[in-house]
């Protein structure tokens, strides 16, 4: 797929800008967040946003390798979230 329709192209550009702005907003919460769980949730949201950017970029350029990038990022982000959740509940990550 080399030819992207004009409407899809515009939507993709707008969506990329919005998701990037969301990343900036989340980084404010990472820096200023009053408590540690705030920072963790913000970092997790940033990871999800980066996955979204990778997928949008894959649609825009039509190259499948960005799907692989998003897949790997999603797996690692999931495990990071699980580890932090276990740390918050149990106080230790690995028993």
């Amino acid at each position: 797929m080399s030819e992207v329709p004009v409407l899809l192209e515009t939507t993709l550009r707008v969506a990329l800008v919005i998701v990037s702005a969301l990343c900036v907003c989340c980084s404010y919460r990472v820096i200023r967040g009053p408590t540690d769980p705030d920072r963790v949730v913000a970092l997790d949201a940033i990871a999800t946003n980066v996955v979204a950017i990778a997928v949008l970029f894959a649609i825009q350029t039509g190259r499948g390798l960005f799907i692989t990038v998003s897949l790997v990022l999603a797996i690692i982000g999931f495990i990071a979230t699980v580890a932090v959740a276990k740390f918050v509940i149990d106080g230790e990550v690995i028993e």
Partner: protein
């Protein structure tokens, strides 16, 4: 948590294997496949605890209070690290026997293989296997030793 781990770990292993195999002409390869395999083991450690691999999978007896770096599974990780380093260096040295520069790579294309029909077998796969073993061994040693602190 354990139910999720049972569903997620095989998926991660499959993704890691596919990244490892397609590494010679697409992004991917030994390093990221090794990292993904390590994350699968990390999920296992998170869900089932540090002794699960030895007690539950391998059926060995583990003393709970034992020094973690002397466990046999950590020794196995270290051996995997060493083996990977040896494989990588050897795959780099082999072209020197044929008067080619260090780390020269080539590939053969196999036709008529069952199921796949057309398979490219690259010699870079040996180097990738070495990198894979080094990454898995090193990261799992760090994970199990530091995780036991």
């Amino acid at each position: 948590m354990r139910t999720t781990a049972r569903a997620v770990v095989p998926i991660i292993f499959v993704v890691s294997a596919s990244l490892f195999v397609e590494g010679h002409n697409l992004p991917g390869g030994g390093f990221i496949a090794g990292v993904l395999t390590t994350t699968a083991f990390a999920v296992l450690y998170l869900a089932f605890g540090l002794d699960f691999l030895e007690r539950g999978v391998l059926g060995r007896d583990v003393e709970p209070g034992k020094e973690p770096s002397r466990d046999r599974i950590v020794t196995a990780y270290r051996r995997l690290f060493t083996i990977g380093l040896v494989i990588a260096v050897t795959s780099g040295l082999v072209p020197l026997l044929f008067d080619l520069p260090f780390l020269t790579q080539s590939y053969v294309e196999l036709e008529g293989v069952p199921i796949y029909d057309h398979v490219e077998l690259a010699s870079a796969l040996a180097f990738d296997l070495g990198v894979y073993c080094v990454v898995v061994g090193g990261l799992l040693t760090i994970l199990s030793v530091v995780g036991a602190e």
